[in-house]
């Protein structure tokens, strides 16, 4: 593909790609929840949240503060959580990350991973707490293997998101 947009349709396509790749990849990751895996113990990471948090840490400026509300609603509907669960957790975590962004000057790979790990733990705890309010008496401990896997899967997901980002911004 030429580096210069040859026509207005090329420009439109690039604009579309630039705007919608982050959203579309998050929605696709949410759809992974409908894969025909039948498990009796939580082990598989929540890919939608991983992809979202990777995009957020890579490109803080593309997300308006309310973007997580429709994304969270979609995730709740697809994955069978109580409606509102991802909406409230994702938005809260994004607002906290904004706060963290305004306080920290330097960011590098390890700090991003640390933020992601804290966010993943908070997300798991929040989901467990909401389920608890709804009469589910499962212990938080049963989520720990899944949370560890999620934390260790973050670099991989972040790498994929970086690849997507390069493609998104490519000319």
């Amino acid at each position: 593909m030429s580096r210069i947009a040859g026509s207005s349709s090329d420009v439109a396509w690039m604009g579309l790609r630039r705007q919608w790749v982050p959203v579309a990849s998050t929605l696709l990751a949410a759809l992974l929840d409908t894969l025909p895996i039948v498990a009796t113990t939580p082990l598989v990471p929540d890919f939608a949240f991983l992809v979202l948090i990777a995009w957020r840490l890579l490109r803080p400026e593309i997300w308006p503060a309310w973007a997580t509300l429709p994304l969270g609603l979609f995730n709740d509907l697809v994955s069978g959580h109580s409606i509102g669960e991802s909406m409230v957790l994702w938005t809260a975590i994004f607002l906290l990350l904004e706060l963290a962004d305004s306080r920290t000057g330097w960011r590098d790979y390890w700090i991003d991973w640390l933020f992601a790990a804290v966010a993943i733990l908070a997300h798991g705890f929040g989901g467990w707490f909401i389920a608890r309010q709804m009469g589910n008496r499962a212990e938080f401990v049963i989520l720990l293997p899944q949370l560890c896997l999620s934390v260790s899967a973050y670099p991989l997901v972040a790498r994929m998101v970086v690849g997507l980002d390069r493609w998104r911004l490519a000319r």
């Binding site: 409908t34 039948v38 939580p42 309310w66 509907l77 994955s79 305004s102 589910n136 499962a138």
Partner: protein, 299 residues
């Protein structure tokens, strides 16, 4: 030097206001989401239409690749079997013995039941199945233990109906779409199933722990009535689950507590049957005559 913040909108008033309203909308949206959650706590089936539509929309993905998932879940099992052959053999022998005991007991119970039923002319309403289907998916990344079935309201499936596999009880339907339904599995942390010990008829409640097994709670104080290998069946108390469906086998005793393994593994069960609630009438308001009789005795 630290890099300048990419989020500072500069001196444009318009950009600053836009950002501010973004936060306002986010805050309001969070409050709204909390409200939705509170409504869900008060009325768990309130969003059935919305969630059912989402279930229907994602069903093609879910049911399309079932054979692939069978292959993948098979790999882990095969490798595990190779390493565990010895202990598995001993375990299976022990289970076989337990099963034999259970069968004899079941036969005796069945005879006794027939006799008692004939005596009382009592039979549970709603025998028979509503639909036979496949378990096509599950919630595998959260604390919930839900499974998805490939039938829904168009086949007569409604929330509250029990679901069983050939091996035993799977759970209870909680949400339905037109062509798909979501099931609360026996091992979910919110699932309570009234059960009976096959050996001596002790009543207990099987409460899920969210990671594939159930804890047994009984009213008896002091002695733990359960032994390893004991089989538990539904007791029919409460009127949702029909009696005598196998539920779980006791796997481990820890002092006063007993933990059991559900007999039906939804990831391996080929078919699941949706049954009618055992006594749907139990949920209905009292009839006029009953009300009159009750108020009559109260006066």
């Amino acid at each position: 030097m630290a890099p300048p913040s990419a989020r500072r909108p500069g001196f444009s008033r318009r950009a600053q206001y836009g950002r501010f309203f973004g936060y306002v909308i986010a805050g309001a949206g969070m409050l709204f989401a909390v409200l939705l959650l509170v409504i869900a706590i008060i009325d768990p089936t309130g969003y059935n239409a919305l969630k059912g539509a989402a279930l229907d929309a994602t069903k093609p993905i879910t049911s399309g690749g079932r054979s692939v998932s069978n292959f993948f879940s098979g790999i882990g099992g095969t490798v595990g079997n190779y390493f565990n052959a010895g202990s598995q053999n001993a375990e299976l022998k022990r289970q076989l013995q337990a099963a034999r005991r259970g069968t004899i007991q079941a036969r005796a119970t069945e005879l006794e039941n027939q006799r008692l039923k004939a005596l009382l002319k009592l039979a549970g309403e709603g025998d028979g199945e509503v639909a036979v289907t496949r378990v096509v998916g599950s919630s595998f990344d959260s604390v919930h233990r839900y499974a998805t079935l490939s039938v829904g309201a168009s086949s007569g499936v409604q929330p509250g109906m029990p679901v069983r596999a050939p091996d035993g009880l799977v759970g209870r339907v909680i949400e339905t779409g037109r062509w798909a339904a979501r099931v609360l599995l026996v091992s979910d942390g919110a699932s309570n199933i009234p059960v009976r010990l096959v050996r001596d008829g002790t009543s207990a409640i099987a409460m899920g722990d969210g990671q594939g097994s159930v804890e047994l709670k009984t009213l008896e104080v002091g002695k733990n009535p359960f032994r390893r290998g004991d089989v538990l069946v539904t007791s029919g108390v409460g009127g949702v689950y029909p009696p005598n469906i196998p539920v779980a086998i006791v796997a481990r005793i820890e002092g006063d507590r007993a933990f059991a393994q559900p007999l039906a593994d939804p990831s391996r069960a080929d078919f699941a049957m949706v049954l009618r609630p055992y006594q749907p009438i139990a949920d209905q308001p009292l009839s006029a005559e009953t009300n009159a009789a009750l108020t009559g005795t109260a006066q």
